[in-house]
Amino acid sequence: MKDIAIVSFAQSDCRRDAGACNEVELIMPVIEQAMQAVGLNNSQDVDFTCSGSCDYQQGAAFAFVMGVDALGAVPPIKESHVEMDAAWALYESMLKISMGQAESALIYGFGKSSPGELPTVLSQQLDPYYLAPLWVDSVSLAALQARVLLDRGLLSEQDMAAVVARSRANAKANNPHAQLAGDVSVEELLAESPWVAPLRKHDCCPISDGASAMVICTIEKARAWGKPYAVIRGIDHRMESHNIGARDLTRSVSTELAAAQAGVDRGPVEVAELYAPFSHQEIILSQALGLDDSTEINPSGGVLAGNLMMASGLSRIGEVATRIMSGDVRRGVAHATSGPCLQHNLVAVLEAA
């Protein structure tokens, strides 16, 4: 795929409950912010718009269509939607640009999880005959995965708590939109009782309402706009079996494959933003991506500091892009996930222009 530029990114605060604020009202401010950063007025000024969300969160078929109200639906625009995290809306937009059908695109993802019980809602994305009727929730499946790792001695509860402590500290230092931030020690965290043993509550990402948005375009267009931009040098996504028992839960094979295709190892990885909804999964992902101490992992705090369901993957890419656009780093990796126990993974390599 040809190189594509990220020219702007915006994300809302991660809030446990946005109250009466509806999806459109969550989306509008981030779209406006992302557009204004590059001097665009509205969705008429880009060639393509693509969003990511999940109708199950709103509890109504085609609920995502209402999100389009945030754009102004008249006059008509070229628009699409993925029932996935908006990181995949970015992927679709890149295909659209690569095919020559657009030079620029607006991408947004949104999720208002507070009206429902998100782990229960997510149980309905599972196999409809074998798992969904059991209503086994997303936290429980992650806990089964964590136990496999702990039983085999591949990580310890201290390792998991260390991930959480770093997430909270990074969020406090770097992320004004975080829901959970602060200074906590590994000892303090381990003193908490188990929740869904072996997971403690802090091992699990919080549930957040909010949205994020991004503008991408061809390299030529980015130069014409004359704004700083980050280049998406490689991107790939791979999916593993929906049968959790058939997978090696101690690894993320799909992340390994996507990382190889995206070219993660073709240069230094200064920063990585990983979509790890559970603490042990950050360790699995770091290993799958071949990261070591030379990489700063989740400087934003990652999704353990705030998880905008269906927008967090796009936000991981936006967090890396922002650091490149500001000149802090020259090369980074962003990751997005979907499905139970890291079933489906997207890896993007971003570089300075």
Binding site: G19, A20, G59, A60, E117, P119, T120, S123, Y129, Y130, L131, P133, L134, W135, V136, D137, S140, L141, A143, L144, Q145, A146, R147, V148, D151, P194, W195, V196, A197, P198, L199, E240, S241, N243, I244, G245, A246, R247, L249
Partner: protein, 149 residues
């Protein structure tokens, strides 16, 4: 802000789906309190049966009957069951590897937390009237071997 409009809303999808020759066979066998899987290209027995091999993607049609007893290969403890969960009392979700299967299945285990451990032996507790659903296996429970019961 505190006075939100609330209304009861029941979401229903009135579709009828055919479960097909693989999933359908599994669900039909459950009515007879039997558990079947399919054999993958590498010889692994998947329980519940998979329609396609997850590695080669070829269609699978060799059925293998397995035991309704097996071993817990991972588990988590639900101290506060959710409304949708199968029990009101604390219970475990587990990956259960049935005897004769090579791939574990996810199901509930009803047992005291102190008895739960990786490697524990369990057996299916069947529902009173199996109807061809995964929930015909009400749950798994600690295995009772001859002489104990």
């Amino acid at each position: 802000m505190s006075d939100l409009l609330r209304q009861q809303f029941v979401l229903g999808y009135t579709y009828t789906r055919s479960t097909g020759p693989v999933v359908g066979r599994f669900l039909t066998e459950l009515r007879q309190r039997k558990i079947v899987g399919t054999r993958g290209d590498d010889g692994r027995v998947f329980v519940p049966p998979m329609e396609f091999d997850p590695v080669t993607a070829s269609a699978l049609d060799e059925f293998v009957e397995v035991s309704d007893r097996g071993e817990v290969v991972s588990w988590c403890w639900i101290s506060e069951p959710r409304d949708s969960h199968p029990f009101d009392e604390p219970f475990a979700w587990a990956l259960v590897l049935l005897d004769g299967a090579d791939v574990p299945m996810v199901h509930a285990v009803a047992a005291p937390e102190a008895e739960m451990h990786t490697g524990m032996r369990v057996q299916a507790r069947w529902s009173e009237e199996p109807r061809g659903y995964i929930t015909d296996i009400a749950c798994f429970e600690p295995e009772v071997t001859q002489g104990e019961g």
